[in-house]
């Protein structure tokens, strides 16, 4: 049966040429695909404008900012202590680590970051490592789910639930903890907390081993991750990647080792690094980091000054009435403490003029605070270096050449949080 074309073009040679021309048109046509901002694999409100040639990505333009709340502007208009709850909402998968990072930055400005009571340092380290495990568990669970392995998500969320319980026991809140204060902690940990952490460590190691058996040598998982989204060592440094993404590319850089803060130099742990820099390496680095975090937690449980129950009443905040709030008992009975409390609440901690930058090894990378102070209780300018923001900037170079089915894998392996990226 003759087609329409047969009738229009009677010459068979011209007909073949026209068919080829038509085919070339189809092949040469690029399609623009808008992925996100509400797409389950973009982990929040990331939007990527992909230019596709068939299934191969030829251009990728990440578009961030859908969760921009102006945190830096807000910080300029309140006291240092009032900003602590906002740090919970940066990387909302690891609020405890954000609290510690922010408190350490302000303490560096005050010049008291190396005078913190030892018990406070140990509790802060434990909070950071619990937050790291929690963030990696969510990253891994969502990563595996995007790749089709839903079981892992259920396993990791069961363990995260226990960390939420621990955070609740320590701070009273499950998600937005605001556990630290400038110069210390909101309160000491409850007497049963350390035993709960120990129990968590024991149970978690079993669960992590189970996750390993599900993924690490799983044929589908390996096929989809290996040699996908390769970031070379120079490229990782050039793009300013930090955290597991940098270490996955084989750069031996961890702020806990290279610029130790808190009591990290007293603790033994290893820094895992990758060799190829593909998605599988980044997965393996996170797996090992969780194991090292458990190792740190166990050492903290052994070494924590004051012991598990703190019968000797080791302090958890610096004993300086001009930095931390005095006890209510003293405020109500003594004039000096009343004045301190009044000044701290109304005007905030009086910081010296100057500028500091403090980088903290957060689960996602280096969370940095640059504080420009002109004296008084409010920062003149505060810049938050969100690691996810910088880690995402590599997408424009990383995605072209990948298949479209690699996008969830690459995004999952970069493990970002938009709350921190958009600030």
């Amino acid at each position: 049966m003759p087609t329409v074309q047969d009738i229009e073009i009677r010459d068979s040679a011209a007909r073949t040429a026209a068919a080829e021309e038509e085919l070339r048109d189809v092949q040469g046509e690029k399609m623009v695909l808008n992925m996100g901002p509400s797409h389950p694999a973009t982990h929040g409100v990331l939007r990527i404008v992909l230019e596709l040639d068939g299934e191969v990505i030829t251009k990728a333009d990440p578009d961030v900012g859908y969760l921009h709340r102006g945190d830096e502007k807000i910080a300029e208009n309140m006291t240092y202590t009032q900003f602590i709850p906002y740090t919970d909402r940066l990387d909302y998968l690891a609020p405890l680590a954000n609290n510690v990072a922010y408190a350490l930055a302000v303490e560096k400005l005050l010049g008291i970051h190396d005078k913190l009571p030892p018990r406070c340092q140990y509790i802060r380290v434990m909070c950071c490592e619990l937050a790291r495990i929690s963030a990696h568990l969510l990253g891994l669970g969502a990563f595996a789910m995007d790749t089709g392995a839903i079981t892992v998500f259920l396993l990791t969320f069961t363990e995260r639930e226990k960390i939420y319980n621990l955070a609740e026991a320590a701070s009273g809140a499950r998600l937005t903890n605001s556990y630290t204060r400038i110069g210390g902690l909101m309160r000491d940990i409850p007497p049963t907390w350390c035993a709960q952490v120990k129990q968590f460590c024991d149970e978690f190691e079993v669960a992590l081993a189970e996750v390993e058996t599900l993924l690490t040598r799983n044929r589908i998982w390996v096929d989809r991750l290996r040699d996908v989204g390769v970031i070379s060592k120079p490229m990782a440094i050039d793009y300013g990647l930090t955290g597991p993404n940098l270490r996955g590319s084989g750069v031996d850089w961890d702020l806990r080792k290279n610029q130790p803060y808190l009591c990290y130099q007293d603790l033994e742990f290893d820094i895992p690094i990758g060799s190829v820099g593909d998605c599988y390496d980044r997965y393996m680095v996170r797996q090992e980091e969780m194991r090292q975090s458990v190792r740190i937690l166990r050492q903290c449980l052994q070494k924590i000054p004051g012991g598990w129950t703190n019968d000797v009443k080791e302090p958890v905040s610096v004993a300086d009435g001009k930095i931390t709030l005095p006890s209510k008992q003293k405020v109500l009975s003594s004039m000096e403490e009343l004045i301190h409390q009044f000044m701290l609440v109304t005007e905030g901690v009086n910081c010296p003029p100057g500028e500091i930058y403090f980088g903290h090894e957060n689960p996602k990378g280096e969370l940095g605070f640059y504080i420009n102070s002109r004296g008084g209780g409010t920062p003149y300018r505060m810049k938050i270096r969100g690691p996810s923001f910088i880690n995402l900037s590599i997408l424009g170079e990383l995605l072209p050449g990948c298949m479209i089915s690699d996008v969830p894998v690459v995004l999952g392996s970069l493990d970002f949080v938009m709350g921190e990226s958009d600030r």
Binding site: V64, G65, H68, Y239, G240, W253, K383, D422
Partner: protein, 208 residues
């Protein structure tokens, strides 16, 4: 090489262009007097002094003083863990300095963010457009003269600068236009509604 030594090397190379190093809380800062030279200083710091990692670029609005802007670079040498802060002042009339994108590619998004929130332009940046605020937004919100509560913008539909793909078609609602129910030709309103069967019975007395 400590941070102070690297700062002194920059001072030796560029002379009076850069200030004496300032130390605060163990951090070394040097200030470049001329913003136009920041590219040269940065490429010198990377090539000769080994600052291979750009941690951050940020900006401060010194509102009410001249020069109004300070742009701050945090450099790091990942081999020796040395850090250095590089600062330069930019006047409000100029509001422009060279991009360091050719030195570190991570500068791309940092510079876009500063342009977006503070309104400082970077010459030589290949793709200087807004990043956190949307395309077409008229203000720079991190400036000190921008109020915390924000400003009302009198540009309607400013978020939609391009035509919607199927605009004009039956399934697209345009801001300020008719909504989906008004556009629906088969909609039943009291005026055009045919009486329901039960009503017809009542009107005609018998079923048609």
């Amino acid at each position: 090489m400590t941070a102070l030594e690297t700062a002194n090397q920059i001072k030796a190379k560029f002379g009076d262009l850069v200030s004496e190093p300032v130390e605060f809380r163990g951090e070394i800062s040097v200030t470049s007097a001329e913003a136009g030279k920041i590219f040269d200083i940065c490429s010198f710091a990377k090539k000769q002094l080994g600052f291979d990692f750009l941690v951050d670029i940020t900006s401060v609005d010194n509102y009410g003083t001249d020069p109004r802007w300070t742009v701050i670079y945090h450099l790091r040498n990942t081999k020796t863990a040395t850090e250095l802060r590089l600062k330069t002042d930019v006047s409000e009339e100029k509001s422009e300095l060279p991009s360091v994108l050719p030195v570190w590619r991570t500068a791309n998004w940092h510079e876009r963010e500063i342009y977006d929130l503070m309104g400082i332009r970077f010459t030589g940046h290949p793709d200087l457009r807004r990043i956190l605020m949307w395309e077409g937004y008229p203000y720079h919100p991190l400036r000190k003269d921008f109020p915390l509560a924000g400003k009302p913008t009198d540009l309607p539909g400013v978020a939609f600068t391009k035509v919607t793909p199927m605009e004009g078609g039956p399934f697209v609602t345009v801001a300020g236009g008719k909504d989906a129910i008004d556009r629906e030709p088969r909609v039943r309103t009291p005026e055009n509604a045919e009486p329901a069967i039960s009503d017809k019975r009542l009107i005609g007395g018998k079923l048609k």
